[in-house]
Amino acid sequence: MLATNGIPTAEELAPRIPPAERLKKGPVAIIECFQKIPCNPCSTACKTGAIEKFEDINDLPSVDLEKCTGCGLCISKCPGLAIFVVDETYSEMEAAVSLPFEFLPLPAEGEEVDVLDRSGKTVGRGKVIRVRNGKYEDRTPVVTVAVPKELSMVVRNIRVGGDRR
């Protein structure tokens, strides 16, 4: 439960997960922002108008699923690192999950990494497809990792080079 351990329950997550029909159409942003805090960079970063402008800066972001192209420009702009892009059309068996990753070492494209759920538990292995780490990302690199399709809504972190804890 978010309020006691920072991990959203299935019920807390449900309103943020796009319907299956939308997921079949291609990449889409999933904003795991559940608390009304005064913050709006996601909407100012959105170039397609999919993240609607806030009337009140405390509003929760809402994504227009038809307008969202899954471009991922919002990922590195969210100060809460709460935005992910999921592409369930990546391949027949795999989904591509793009996530913010502010840790060193960064994975190389093509590298296999552990994939972790929202509680930091390793749930499998994934292959890094892309690492965006330019001026725009401003030291919040965006890593896209291919994972088994059934893990598309589970994987929200990666671990490079095995468990060091």
Binding site: L2, A3, T4, N5, G6, I7, P8, E32, C33, F34, Q35, K36, I37, P38, C39, N40, P41, T44, A45, D56, I57, N58, K77, C78, P79, G80, L81, A82, E102, F103, L104, L116, D117, R118, S119, G120, K121, D138, R139, T140, R156, N157, R164, R165
Partner: protein, 363 residues
């Protein structure tokens, strides 16, 4: 005796914005800070900030500090005194006593003063709370983010407010293992997005837990073990619920209280408002205290987010300049804008505590 039109005390987010706003109106500002560079706590905030573009949202605190400090340094209306600590205010003649570079004593008479001195960390009472290895969160951030030194290997973080959560994340980024984050409150006080960030690194957050005791290594005398226990709904510890952590660092992040000594010296009317972190100055909507000519902004006026501190600073700077007759006709509009922005920042559910505290202060 040095003379200043407006003295701004403290070069953190509130003081920097106050100096820039007053200078923008045309006033001459002397910005005094005890550190060797401007920025206050911003110099160790490596995370991207919340808020809107007006408060530099999505830019890292360290970069906001740099941006504002650069603007201050190139502004011809602002003189900066670094390594200078204002240690006294003499109410009889309104003179500030400033210790410069720990060797010179400078007296300064300012026509207006903006006090933006920030806050200090609260501490926690438990057995052996003075062992080496037990730090305040601010010290951990200074060591790590300013000087590149990690405080140890395994950390127990005490406090799940924004500071505890953010510093835990930064420790993990630096390769330090945070074993757990505990908080005596039944729910997480910080933003949930910060909590989720550390949760997906595998750091457990335990609410309703407090520190029972800390134990030293027999050889070194430094922290080796921490014991926590659960508290019930009346904040009483429950025997038998102890958990043991083998840690060489305990980091205390249990809140801040306003650094208001100068305001006490000046005789400003103070009020104890727990929601704002302790004793805070009574002031009007120009951020002017009950002592005419003394303004406040930022954490010293009530512990809050940096975004609000910046807007309060802007408000105080504009108002101090206006009171000296500097107004090109834009004052009312700029003041209204800053007030509106502050209202927006505080209007949501997470601003409830601040709203309650401010209401009490206004009553």
């Amino acid at each position: 005796m040095k003379h200043a039109e407006i003295a701004v005390i403290g070069g953190g987010p509130a003081g920097l914005m106050a100096a820039l706003a007053a200078a923008e109106m045309g006033a001459k500002v002397t910005l005094v800070d005890r550190n060797s560079r401007l920025g206050g706590q911003l110099v160790k905030q490596t995370h991207k900030f919340f808020g809107s573009e007006k408060e530099y949202a999505s830019i890292r605190g360290i970069d906001i500090g740099r941006i504002l400090a650069t603007e201050v340094h190139k502004n011809p209306n602002i003189e900066t005194m670094l390594n200078s600590t204002v240690v006294a205010y003499y109410p009889d003649d309104g003179v500030l006593g400033i210790e410069v570079e720990e060797k010179k004593w400078v007296k300064m008479k300012a026509e207006r003063i903006v006090v933006a001195t920030g806050a200090s960390e609260k501490y926690l009472l438990f057995e052996n709370n003075d062992l080496p290895g037990i730090y305040g969160a601010g010290a951990v951030q200074t060591l790590m983010n300013e000087h590149g030194v990690v405080p140890g290997k395994n950390v127990l973080m005490v406090g799940a407010g924004n500071i505890g959560l953010i510093v835990s994340y930064q420790l993990m980024q630096a390769g330090v293992n945070v074993k757990a984050i505990i908080d005596a409150a039944p729910s997480i006080g910080g933003y949930w997005v910060h909590a989720s960030k550390v949760a997906r690194l595998g750091v457990p957050i335990l609410t309703s837990y407090t520190v029972k005791a800390a134990y030293p290594n027999e050889m070194t005398g430094a922290l080796e073990r921490a014991v926590i226990w659960r508290v019930d709904d009346r904040w009483q510890p429950v025997p038998g619920t102890e958990k043991v952590f083998n840690v060489d660092v305990m980091c205390i992040a249990v809140g801040l209280s306003p650094l208001a000594e100068l305001l006490w010296q000046a005789g400003c009317k103070m009020m104890y408002v727990p929601e704002l972190g302790g004793h805070v100055p009574v002031r009007n909507d120009n951020m002017e205290t009950t002592v005419s000519g003394i303004y406040v902004a930022g954490d010293v006026a009530g512990v809050e987010e940096a975004s609000s501190a910046m807007m309060e600073g802007r408000l105080a700077g504009l108002s101090a300049a206006k009171s000296l007759g500097y107004d090109d006709g834009t004052y009312e509009e700029k003041k209204a804008e800053a007030l509106k922005e502050l209202e927006n920042l505080r209007s949501g559910p997470v601003g409830g505590k601040i709203r309650k505290g401010l209401a009490q202060l206004a009553s």
